[in-house]
């Protein structure tokens, strides 16, 4: 069974066993506006929890994407490079950024649940 959790930097992460998929939330995608460019991590790169792993840019803003959990990059969503608009169209689905393996459940447990994140966004 997979579960999705959220960060206060507006990333989401879905954990399935010790594999994770990471993207940015719908809220973040809307705040950025039309995404024009993403820079993705190399396969095999090890990232720590909270480390800078990717970059997402709109015309007037650029923002780092921090990996919510630690692990090794097993895949990056290369389709985004040609079609960055996917991040706006389907941020929490086909607009995912990268996948990790060897993720510790401990990192994951510290993140916000869907409801907690919804509350957090309301407060912004």
């Amino acid at each position: 069974m997979s579960e999705t959790r959220f960060t206060d930097q507006h990333e989401w992460v879905t954990l399935d066993g010790d594999n994770a998929t990471v993207g940015i939330t719908k809220y973040a995608a809307e705040a950025l506006g039309d995404v024009v460019f993403v820079e993705l991590p190399q396969k095999g790169r090890k990232v720590g929890a909270g480390a800078e792993a990717a970059v997402v840019e709109s015309v007037k803003a650029a923002s780092e994407v921090y990996s919510p959990v630690g692990g090794e990059v097993s895949e990056a969503n290369a389709a985004l490079e040609a079609a960055p608009a996917t991040v706006n169209d389907d941020p929490e689905g086909s607009g995912w950024f990268f996948k990790l393996k060897g993720v510790s459940a401990g990192d994951f447990a510290k993140l916000m649940t869907k409801d907690a994140y919804a509350e957090f966004v309301k407060g912004l």
């Binding site: 460019f37 820079e39 840019e57 709109s58 015309v59 007037k60 803003a61 650029a62």
Partner: protein, 447 residues
């Protein structure tokens, strides 16, 4: 004061509207201790146009303009003829007195010429993309080194001994913070072995061609050797007219080209403003410094231009920007673009041939003088001579005879004793047969 439209009645009425008793009230936030009376400034009061013109003209008259007589200085700044249309057009109010084109709807004039400029620079250098200019060739070179350091995640930059020494010092000052800057030995008239210096820590090799002595360098083997070690080749061009006759750096495998564009459209101006040209391969675009103009369409579907990929720049990316540059060489790029448009392929090629022909004729004439030797077997419009005596005093002696004979190498390399007798001499299309004869005649007299 002729530039200030407010009358004292206007000022009083405006203060009244604001509800301020006097102008001092508007400066109320300034600590009292820091407000000074006018008398602390030991400076003159307002003067009319006539007086200012007179004072500045007097200072100007104490200099010897390049056009005043036979003139042969180069070494990074070149005297060329700029067609009259160029200065007329760049003085149009709409170009001269506009700001950076941040509002594209009312700045298409600037944006379109920048797009034309970027295209021209890419074509000349043989690269895929060029930016909308940096300050000058030397700062462009420093930016190129920093870009290579970011791209390769390595620190070391190898600078050819033929790189203009002032460029090398600029690179050391700015890019030296991110890694070791290794300067190869200076070998006037021949190419030092750069390939042997390239190692696994090397971010880039920086080679100028024609080099500071005028020698034409072959970049191809250096590019290959650099690429084999994962390093980049940065090609530097200080005389852009040379590309009318020489193979482009892009065709020789350069990854970044940093160049000085002053020769096209811009005056000597005692060193500035000039125009830094910067071009690279499309795959390195995201690490490029400086503004970029791109083509797009407006909401009615009409073609138009905008500043683009701004997330690389300081106003959006702040401390993560690829450079801190904001104001660049705007109007100098316009002068460049107009001059190059006037030249076109045929004019530019002819100009380059003419420069090479003048320099060849001058070299032959001077080397016929006993004791004068040509140091640079290859050259474009600038070469280096070895004189039988130190060059610097000879240049002063020649200046007294009305001939500005070139740049003594010792001026650029004061510590290099072997450079003492070397003179760097440039001849462009502005050089006449009489100028050549005057130089040769005067040189014979002072030797």
């Amino acid at each position: 004061m002729r530039y200030l439209p407010l009358s004292s009645d206007d000022r009083s009425a405006m203060l009244k509207k604001i509800g301020a008793p006097g102008i001092d009230a508007l400066f109320a936030d300034v600590p009292q201790a820091a407000v000074v009376p006018l008398s602390v400034f030991n400076l003159p009061d307002t003067q009319g146009e006539l007086e200012v013109d007179r004072a500045l003209s007097k200072l100007a008259a104490r200099n010897v303009a390049a056009g005043a007589g036979p003139f042969f200085c180069g070494a990074g700044a070149y005297k060329h003829h700029v067609p009259s249309a160029v200065d007329h057009l760049i003085q149009r109010s709409e170009f001269l007195t506009s700001y950076t084109p941040y509002q594209p709807e009312i700045a298409q004039g600037t944006l379109q010429y920048l797009f034309e400029f970027q295209t021209q620079v890419a074509l000349l250098t043989g690269m895929e993309v060029a930016n909308a200019s940096l300050y000058d060739g030397s700062t462009a070179t420093a930016e190129a080194v920093m870009m290579a350091q970011r791209l390769t995640r390595r620190g070391k930059a190898i600078l050819s001994g033929g790189l203009h020494p002032h460029y090398a010092e600029t690179v050391e000052t700015v890019a030296g913070l991110q890694g070791v800057i290794a300067r190869a030995p200076v070998t006037p008239g021949s190419a030092e072995d750069l390939i042997a210096l390239i190692d696994d820590e090397t971010a880039c090799v920086v080679v100028q061609s024609p080099d500071v002595f005028g020698l034409i360098r072959n970049l191809r083997p250096i590019a290959e050797a650099a690429h084999a070690k994962g390093a980049l080749l940065i090609a530097v061009v200080t005389e852009i007219v040379s590309l009318g006759l020489l193979e482009s750096p892009g065709a020789q495998g350069a990854d970044i080209v940093a160049a000085e564009g002053q020769s096209i459209g811009n005056g000597l101006n005692f060193g500035g403003p000039y125009v830094g040209l910067f071009a690279t391969r499309e795959k390195f675009l995201r690490q490029m410094p400086g503004r970029l103009t791109g083509e797009t369409a407006d909401i009615e579907g009409r073609r138009g231009y905008v500043l683009t990929l701004s997330t690389r720049e300081q106003h959006i990316r702040r401390e993560k920007a690829t450079s801190n540059i904001c104001t660049n060489s705007g109007l100098c790029t316009l002068a460049f673009t107009i001059h190059l448009s006037l030249l076109g392929e045929e004019g530019f090629t002819r100009l380059a041939r003419l420069n090479h022909a003048k320099a060849s004729a001058l070299a032959d004439r001077l080397c016929a003088i006993a004791g004068v030797e040509l140091v640079t077997p290859t050259f474009f419009n600038e070469f280096t001579l070895k004189l039988p005596k130190p060059a610097a005093p000879l240049v002063d002696a020649l200046a007294n005879k009305g001939v500005i004979a070139g740049v003594p190498a010792s001026r650029l390399l004061p510590h290099d004793k072997s450079a003492a007798n070397l003179l760097i001499v440039a001849a462009t299309e502005t050089c006449t047969d009489d100028d050549i004869a005057a130089f040769a005649g005067a040189l014979k007299e002072v030797l």
